[in-house]
């Protein structure tokens, strides 16, 4: 046995963990090696020193502090711990779950039209056209039974009537505006232009016989979003549409309105033509204007730079 081999056994020798054979070999080496005997002596004293180290005691109050810490906290704390503890495990799981939900939501939104429809913000309660009232009878405006037409024209409503009434007086126009304003869709202030004799009947507007047909076509389910379904505010646009044949243009205008999701909310006779009041989605205005240009010569008076959700268009139809 070499000195190196002998010293490798010192630890087991001190702990009395050598086999009888190992011990015999070691003792034989030690008997003839003074260096290893001295080395073993130092080794023993080192281990004895370690064994003599006094034990350490936990600080006073340690048990109480542990018991306090082990006491179950309020249910919120326990719930949070259960949900988020241990953080390195739970946080990535939660993040992955949120990402999965987000991806699923986007996928469903893009691939399921009904989900897209459901996600659309609810439309304000749209004013509907009141049925022709039996009382009080309005002798100024005998009305035909109109089809149900959505019109944001307020509580006065918009009803087709057969004869074209005389042009309204400024006061009548104001009344119409107020009636419009009392609806859920409130238009901004509008300049009132005197456009006819003061004795005009207070009927809001009259429509030709073809209005009923146009209204029916407007009520088709395939039509684009109706202006009545959209929210305020309303922008003002006016202009002149010069046409060759007014009846043909009128029909074309009705079809264009139906296509664009607009609605005719009033019509009055003025000097030099008929003024058709139209309510139109702002986004459809540009295409609507192009359609007007195809019907006749369309000259807008002024068009606001940015159109709001709805546009009220006063279209003067002239020959």
């Amino acid at each position: 046995m070499t000195c190196h081999d002998a010293r490798e056994l010192f630890s087991a020798r001190v702990d009395e963990a050598l086999t009888a054979e190992e011990r015999a070999s070691l003792d034989a080496h030690l008997a003839g090696c003074g260096d290893c005997r001295r080395e073993l002596d130092r080794f023993r004293r080192t281990v004895a020193l370690l064994h003599g180290v006094a034990p350490v005691r936990a600080p006073a109050g340690f048990v109480d502090r542990v018991l306090e810490a082990a006491r179950p906290g309020p249910w919120r704390t326990r719930l949070l711990q259960r949900l988020f503890w241990p953080l390195p495990v739970k946080l990535p799981l939660h993040a992955a779950a949120v990402a999965l939900i987000a991806v699923t939501a986007v996928y469903l939104y893009e691939h399921a039209p009904e989900v897209r429809e459901a996600a659309r913000p609810p439309a304000p309660p749209s004013p509907t056209v009141e049925a022709p009232r039996q009382e009080p009878p309005r002798k100024e405006a005998p009305r035909a039974a109109p089809p149900p037409v959505l019109a944001p024209g307020g509580r006065q409503g918009v009803a087709p009537s057969t004869p074209a009434p005389p042009p309204p007086a400024p006061e009548v126009q104001l009344k119409k505006e107020r009636a419009f304003d009392t609806g859920d869709v409130a238009p901004p202030e509008r300049e009132v232009k005197p456009s006819g004799p003061a004795e005009s009947p207070p009927l809001p507007e009259a429509r030709s016989d073809t209005s009923a047909e146009r209204a029916k076509s407007l009520a088709r389910p395939a039509a684009p979003p109706r202006v009545a379904d959209q929210a305020a505010p309303v922008g003002r646009v006016s202009g002149r549409l010069a046409v060759g044949d007014r009846d043909t243009a009128d029909r074309a205008l009705g079809e264009l309105l139906a296509r664009m999701g607009g609605v005719e909310v009033g019509r009055r006779q003025e000097a030099g033509g008929v003024v058709v009041e139209i309510l139109l989605p702002g986004v459809a205005y540009a295409e609507f204007a192009e359609g007007l240009a195809r019907i006749g010569r369309w000259q807008p008076d002024a068009v606001p730079g940015e159109l709001p959700a709805q546009v009220r268009l006063a279209l003067r139809l002239t020959d």
Binding site: R7, R42, F43, T46, V47, V56, R57, A58, F62, V66
Partner: protein, 186 residues
């Protein structure tokens, strides 16, 4: 409080599993010094050692249902303590410094008379410094064997190592200490 006997230990474990608050208090009282002792000798900082020791008992409190009873309760406690200490030490970057030596001296129990204390003071300081300078894996084996008095097999269970590895580490650690304390042994 002394460490419970095997019969007492199985009863204690059963009561802990049943959620008996008194049983947990008995457990902490019985093992507080041993758990804290290992922690403070490994970490060298009393406050940090108390944090670790508290965490050891809280883990036992939470996970007593997972204790299968194949090993001694003390082995389980030492295993948790060792893992937490090694985790805190974070791969061997930290060493016990003067603060650790002072902490150990302050925490020692059963002081000798002042004259003997003065005589042994330098040697003890050198010993604590030498322990602190050991690599963590060797220090842990020395602490468990020579300061806590665990058998080789129990240390192997605590550290989940073969007994041969425990013997080898212990021998290297003791040889390191002998070399560092050479000047005190003419």
């Amino acid at each position: 409080m002394r460490e419970p006997s095997p019969a007492d230990e199985s009863g204690l474990v059963a009561r802990l599993r049943a959620g008996e608050a008194r049983a947990f208090e008995e457990l902490v009282t019985a093992y507080q010094h041993r758990v804290f002792g290992v922690a403070v000798r490994m970490l060298g900082n009393g406050a940090e050692a108390e944090e670790v020791a508290q965490e050891v008992f809280l883990r036992v409190h939470r996970a007593i249902g997972e204790f299968r009873g194949e090993a001694k309760l003390s082995t389980w406690l030492y295993a948790i303590t060792s893992r937490l200490c090694l985790s805190r030490l974070g791969g061997g970057e930290r060493r016990l410094g003067r603060e650790g030596e002072e902490t150990l001296t302050r925490l020692r129990n059963g002081r000798a008379d002042p004259a003997a204390e003065l005589e042994r003071g330098e040697l003890e300081a050198a010993l604590h410094r030498a322990i602190a300078e050991l690599p963590e894996d060797r220090r842990l084996v020395v602490v468990l064997r020579d300061l806590e008095g665990l058998a080789y097999e129990e240390i192997a269970g605590v550290l989940d190592l073969p007994v041969g590895t425990v013997r080898s580490r212990l021998h290297r650690a003791r040889m390191d200490l002998k070399d560092k304390l050479e000047r005190f042994f003419p």
